[in-house]
Assembly symmetry: C2
Homo-oligomer: 148 residues x 2
Amino acid sequence: MSSPPIVELSREAIDELLHEQLVGRVGCHADGTTYVVPVIYAYDGEAFHVATVEGQKTRMMRHNPAVCFEVDAYEAGSWRSAIAQGEYEEVEGEEAEATIALLAERFGRGGTAGPARRRHRGEGASAVCFRIRIREVTGRSVDRSRPA
Amino acid sequence: MSSPPIVELSREAIDELLHEQLVGRVGCHADGTTYVVPVIYAYDGEAFHVATVEGQKTRMMRHNPAVCFEVDAYEAGSWRSAIAQGEYEEVEGEEAEATIALLAERFGRGGTAGPARRRHRGEGASAVCFRIRIREVTGRSVDRSRPA
């Protein structure tokens, strides 16, 4: 009769999810097109920090900086998700270096941040660092392992 | 010097990814808000089939049926992703039963489709079945385990 219980996550539980996961999805919209793209991120409690390259998502987020950021996790029949609304803010110079450092700290030397670091340091012209500052965030969990 | 190679996936490789994964993210946009939400889906080569409940995403997709559907996978330093543009189509009656059956076939009895099935059969008023018919889809992979 009953469905698996959907539970609203506390901000503490949302933060735990956002700190532990590595991959989020940016949702952006411009000129009638909605676009969702996965990114590797670092979270500092207020914003998601990303190093990427020029492309469709950066063009769209410059055009319309009101974006969504989604993170989810599935384990043994249960899932948690967090959905944030926020603002795209491109960063340059020292702030971009800080973004790279934050990602490097999280992913380690030679890890995921490595290529972005290399590109950022001038071997390619297309690196873009940005943050998505959280305006609001909600989270939910469902435990499907419980008897329904 | 070089970055990890970003490779455009063939439609065959995209289909492989879409068939093997269980969770995708719907991106929708209405009234100035972009929303990304994870869903469990079944893929038949032409559309993503989802059973869900009434909520923000169904309201938004009815308002603006031009949506994005994203799937990604991370394994041992490499990732693949597929991003589709498509149309939201709500289904009812026999088509909804077919959606439920497709999900049940994929996830098994008592699995994820169970609660939707129960809700669909009238014990709650809030079940919604829909498909997102693919208009276009692109895919990419990066192998970060290769020396950069």
